[in-house]
């Protein structure tokens, strides 16, 4: 197989793998799990031809450790998994965040907890993606909804990871990952790719955790003349352990600020439908596609509905949601879980706009009638 040219019928997971390859990823470590396995399949088949490496690890704990290590060695690296594997990755995801290691973790969500309704779709790892690893930490999470976005957002995930020196999660689901749609891959040369900033000082002056003006430390690779030391314990600018009072506060504050001071580079939402509406739907991923369909269906019943789609899930688009709530009669949050995003929506609901939940937990793409029922309730 070679890189698909022209308009193709392609699966979301395949598009994700090609997005990673086009973004410059040259290392994949993973443990195959449905409904994400096709990402591993493409990487196993294609990465060697690009001078890259594919490793099937013993489990997802090792997979996450391997991509952190590969990235510290200078490679753009990633892994893909689903619920049970994502749980196992949490500890080393925290290592990646604390050591400021750019990498991408793809989670094709399925029903849980545990083995769950293998391997049907869900969107119930929203909070796990935010807080799954222990300790205070920021995280960037993107939610694709189409096959095209599986490609585009994977590239964006790598760019954000490299720009902010942090792991980025692509939070997809079984519907988006395993649906086939027409897609046309762009010329890789036309892509705008970001690569981590290298040290600009002589090796003897290099401090691996001394931040630049944008709070991100330039990054050497293992094996460079610039010595990189990365520790999973609290560390100072040398990268070595440091337990002095104030060091942890300084480090955690910078880790947060390096992302939250640059939200305009990260937050992305989509507005769909009429500007003025009786009901605003808030949704993401595959559920947001059902919402788009319902904008037209509700119109037939005389209800004006629009959609605020969360493309960036974390950091949460507080301002965008707040503004949407202020400009609508009522809100329906449509998500394939028992209510995770709705709590975030309520957190920023300063206008006390009525907020309803449309919850899909049946192991399938949320049915239109579930959301439509909530829309009708919202305009009662």
């Amino acid at each position: 197989m070679s890189r698909p040219e022209g308009i193709q019928l392609m699966e979301g997971n395949h598009a994700c793998a090609w997005g990673a390859i086009d973004a410059g990823a040259r290392f994949y470590a993973g443990y195959p799990i449905t409904p994400s396995s096709e990402i591993a399949e493409v990487c196993a088949r294609e990465l060697p031809a690009y001078g890259g490496t594919y490793i099937q690890m013993e489990d997802e704990i090792g997979s996450m450790a391997a991509i952190v290590g590969a990235s510290l060695s200078g490679k753009k690296s990633f892994t893909a998994t689903s619920g049970p594997g994502f749980s196992l990755m949490q500890e080393n995801l925290g290592v990646g965040i604390y050591q400021e290691v750019p990498c991408v973790v793809v989670n094709i969500q399925r029903v849980g907890p545990a083995t769950g309704l293998a391997t049907q779709p869900a969107q119930a790892d929203v909070m796990q993606a935010r807080w799954g690893t222990h300790g205070d930490h920021p995280i960037i999470v993107l939610c694709p909804a189409t096959v095209q976005e599986m490609y585009d957002f994977t590239i964006r995930a790598f760019n954000l990871a490299e720009r902010f020196r942090t792991p980025v999660i692509l939070l997809s689901d079984q519907v988006v990952g395993q649906t086939y749609e027409n897609i046309s891959l762009p010329d890789p040369a036309s892509l705008k790719l970001v690569t981590r900033k290298k040290p600009g000082v002589p090796p003897e002056e290099y401090l691996p955790y001394q931040p630049d003006e944008n709070l991100v430390p330039p990054m050497a690779a293992y094996g460079d003349r610039h010595i990189l030391h990365a520790s999973s314990t609290c560390h100072c600018e040398t990268g070595y352990s440091n337990f002095k009072y104030g060091t942890n506060r300084q480090l955690l504050t910078r880790l947060k600020d390096k992302i939250y001071n640059y939200l305009d580079e990260i937050i992305e939402v989509e507005h769909f439908g009429p500007e003025d509406a009786d009901v605003t739907l808030v949704s993401f991923g595959s559920a947001s596609r059902v919402c788009k369909y319902l904008v037209g269906e509700a119109e037939k019943e005389g209800i004006r509905v629009n959609l605020l789609r969360l493309i960036t899930m974390w950091p949460f688009p507080d301002q965008e949601v707040q503004k949407a709530l202020a400009n609508t009669g009522a809100c329906v949050v449509a998500e394939m879980n028992q209510g995770q995003v709705i709590n975030e929506v309520n957190r920023v609901n300063t206008t006390n706009t009525p907020v309803h939940l449309a919850s899909g937990i049946d192991g399938e793409l949320i049915r239109p009638e579930i959301i439509m029922t909530s829309i009708r309730e919202a305009v009662k």
Binding site: L9, Y293, P368
Partner: protein
């Protein structure tokens, strides 16, 4: 070929339903349309319920599943029972005459797939055959695009018999 289409191909594992969905989808892309293909199947390679859903549209596809199918292919009783009561009167149901009974007699066409396969001398080409039957009744994609897509998706060794089966279905 300017209409939007929602098609469900339902039967059991081993009948090539998902490959047929792929062939139909790629033909629709050749015709210049947008496509969404989803599938569901059990853990067994043969037997067990299996289906492909194909949505074809001139514009962007929001809902990737068949909200209101225009055509249902039901190769087993289970497949028929799953959808026959839910589809509208406008939906054409093509069912296997030998395997499906208790029909509601609405907008339906029965087809004896087994007999046709015996005539063709190959029991494995059922998917190419039903794609022909579908196209005979509904102009979903052009026959040229379908032939091109069949050739692209089926190994050279068995292309001839599959094209023959497709043609046979088209002419019945």
């Amino acid at each position: 070929m300017s209409k939007n289409w929602q098609i469900i191909l339902a039967g059991e594992g081993g009948q090539g339903l998902i490959l047929a969905g792929r062939i139909l989808s790629e033909a629709a892309i050749i015709d210049g349309n947008s496509v969404s293909l989803t599938s569901s199947y059990g853990i067994a390679a043969r037997g067990g319920y299996s289906e492909a859903q194909v949505v074809i549209s001139e514009g962007e596809i929001y809902y990737p599943k068949c909200a209101s199918p225009d055509l249902l292919l039901a190769l087993t009783q289970q497949a028929y029972d799953r959808y026959a009561d839910k589809v509208t009167d406008d939906c054409l149901i093509i069912y296997d005459k030998k395997d499906v009974s208790n029909n509601n007699g609405k907008n339906e066409v029965g087809f004896d797939f087994k007999a046709a396969l015996l005539t063709l001398g190959n029991l494995k080409v059922i998917n190419s055959l039903f794609l022909g039957v579908i196209l005979k009744h509904r102009d979903i994609v052009s026959t040229e695009s379908m032939s091109e897509s069949l050739k692209k998706n089926i190994p050279p060794k068995i292309q001839e018999i599959n094209l023959k089966a497709f043609q046979y279905g088209l002419e019945q």
